[in-house]
């Protein structure tokens, strides 16, 4: 082969690799072209219709982009279309995750935040980050607020502000189906060979080290990692919020299951930088959603037994 042919072949191969990586994103990017025209009318619709699943939005890299939602007249508190950045990690069922088939982000956070902005006349902006640094980033003001199912506790409240609680959750143990060595955290503690997995820097981790010595707790960067360790046999149980554990029920019921009585009970809330002026408006919006039943509806949709998505369906 002469040199020109060799170089062309190499360039062709590189091009093939690049195109292969572009594949899945293409369908999502084509859809918005048609949806753009509909987005304007969607924003003008009443709050009730906007809350439904048929809200049309543009997706960039799988993350939905919105314009200014709501209107000044209908707003509980008029934020005058300001952009509100909302931190998510996109790896935490059922709050925020990326669906495999569509490559689009979805979840409880992705539904409630536009609903809140609809009532406050603001522009929701979702920003992906990692859980490990999320709390600190919010405290430093890098984001206006964070979702991601953050447990309300005093330590975090010291350097930040919480909204009112939007759901109560308990912690439970996720185990391999057919696990018979223990049925509760107490029995788990009693058997010195058992190792617990969880996510780093979570209240789940703090609860775990209240019950177990640190050597028996393995803290991974994300829950999917901890669950991979559970399936592989590296850990014997993963302690997590029940609402997150339910994300594993459904299709994966033959591999993983939640066991044991509730271990702790906590409220989850949105997290803001200390002294943020958004806390009060968001609280008003949350209260309104509680009063008209839509919060409960959303909670049942994502955290009730009918939620059938599992980590197999998400990236």
């Amino acid at each position: 082969m002469n040199n020109v042919r060799k170089i062309s072949l190499i360039i062709l191969l590189i091009g093939a690799v690049v195109i292969a990586s572009c594949g899945p994103a293409a369908p999502a990017e084509e859809a918005p072209a048609a949806d753009d025209a509909m987005e304007e009318s969607a924003a003008d619709e009443s709050a009730e219709e906007a809350a439904s699943d048929t809200m049309e939005v543009t997706y960039v890299d799988g993350i939905p982009q919105y314009g200014c939602l709501g209107s000044a007249e209908d707003a509980l508190v008029d934020l005058e279309c300001r952009e509100v950045t909302f931190a998510v990690e996109n790896a935490y069922l059922p709050f925020n995750y990326i669906e495999i088939e569509s490559g689009q982000a979805n979840g409880w956070d992705y539904e409630i935040f536009p609903m809140i902005c609809e009532m406050l006349h603001c522009t929701p902006v979702f920003v992906e980050t990692v859980w490990e640094t999320m709390i600190q980033q919010v405290q430093e003001g890098q984001f206006d607020m964070a979702g991601d199912g953050i447990t309300i506790n005093d330590e975090r409240d010291e350097n930040g502000d919480f909204s009112i609680g939007y759901v109560n959750t308990v912690m439970r143990l996720l185990v391999n189906v057919g696990e018979d060595r223990f049925t509760s955290i107490e029995e788990f503690v009693a058997d010195p060979d058992l190792i617990m997995g969880t996510q780093i820097n979570t209240t789940n981790y703090e609860t775990a080290v209240e019950y177990l010595p640190e050597e028996r707790v393995q803290a991974f960067d994300t829950f999917p990692f901890a669950n991979a360790a559970l399936v592989a046999g590296d850990v014997d149980a993963v302690i997590m919020d029940e609402v997150v554990g339910l994300g594993y029920q459904g299709e994966n019921a033959d591999v993983l299951e939640l066991v044991g009585p509730p271990i702790t009970s906590d409220e989850l809330g949105f997290y803001f930088p200390e002294g943020s002026e958004l806390v009060d408006p968001v609280n008003q919006a949350l209260q309104a959603l509680m009063d008209d039943g839509r919060l409960n509806e959303l909670n049942m949709k994502y955290m009730g037994p009918s939620f059938a998505l599992t980590y197999d369906d998400v990236q």
């Binding site: 981790y205 991974f220 046999g233």
Partner: protein, 279 residues
């Protein structure tokens, strides 16, 4: 030449090492903070538990990587087609995958797969009649290969490839006349390698080998993603639990800096001692 004379000449040649003084000052200030400020003290107390883990993982992994590197490096320079291709394949494969990805891959794919494979082999052996060995293999449990061990395997495999290239460079830097002379004395290829070429090659690349060790010390921080309790992981846990991110990560950074500076000074010392012997 005396040691002190040599040092004076080196300082005159390279200038006074102000950079070292500044780094020393940073370390000294951090030490003062650790002693005086309770938050820094807490952070240090939490993090220093991991120092032995970090250093032992680095030492073990590096020792193994040197052995792997020697074997693969020799394969690389041999004229045997199989050896040469296998070695080159290994080097290109490992150098083509980032360390973090390799760590995940080995810990979550290769090792569990290998464990399952060995267990299946054990069961097959039992079925065929080889009972004791079969039972032993079938009993293998993934828990026997701890995350630390998997991390060590990943680090050794990666740095084995780098070491192999270093050995290759070292061997090729020895003049060809040496090999010819050795062979003409009646030595076999293996004997020539072992007695003449390799000693010279290794002496030539000692700086590179020392630098690789320091590089591995830094890369060992990656094992924290496997929840191995090294200094990085402990710093993450402390920062997350106490929200004292400044204290935790400052101490972590200065800790790594101290270890690497100490090691690089040690490496320079060893190099000097080795090259003194030449004179």
């Amino acid at each position: 030449m005396e040691e002190s004379e040599r040092r004076v000449i080196e300082i005159r040649k390279n200038g006074f090492p102000w950079w070292l003084v500044i780094i020393g000052a940073i370390i000294a200030v951090t030490l003062l903070l650790i002693i005086n400020a309770p938050s820094f003290n807490d952070a240090f107390a939490a993090i220093r538990i991991g120092i032995t883990t970090t250093i032992s993982i680095t030492l073990i992994a590096y020792a193994i990587s040197l052995i792997i590197g020697l074997i693969v490096g020799l394969g690389r320079v041999s004229s045997n087609v199989v050896a040469k291709n296998l070695s080159t394949f290994y080097i290109e494969l490992v150098r083509g995958i980032p360390m973090l990805v390799l760590i995940f891959f080995i810990a979550l794919v290769v090792v569990p797969g290998a464990v399952n494979g060995v267990a299946s082999l054990g069961n097959w052996l039992k079925g065929v009649g080889v009972l004791t060995l079969g039972q032993k293999l079938a009993d293998i449990n993934i828990r026997m290969i701890s995350m630390s061990l998997r991390a060590i395997i990943a680090l050794s495999i990666t740095y084995g490839a780098f070491s192999a290239e270093i050995y290759r460079a070292g061997i090729q830097s020895v003049p060809a006349g040496q090999m010819e002379a050795a062979r003409s004395q009646g030595m076999s290829y293996g004997q020539a390698m072992r007695h003449i070429i390799l000693p010279q090659a290794i002496r030539n690349v000692l700086p590179a080998i020392g630098n690789d060790f320091i590089a591995m010390l830094k890369d060992s921080s990656l094992v924290s993603v496997l929840a191995v309790r090294d200094v990085t992981h402990l710093a993450k846990l402390f920062a997350g639990g106490s929200f004292k991110f400044t204290e935790a990560y400052t101490i972590l950074a200065v800790l790594y800096l101290s270890m690497t500076i100490l090691l690089s000074l040690l490496v320079k010392l060893i190099e000097r001692k080795i090259s003194t012997n030449d004179k």
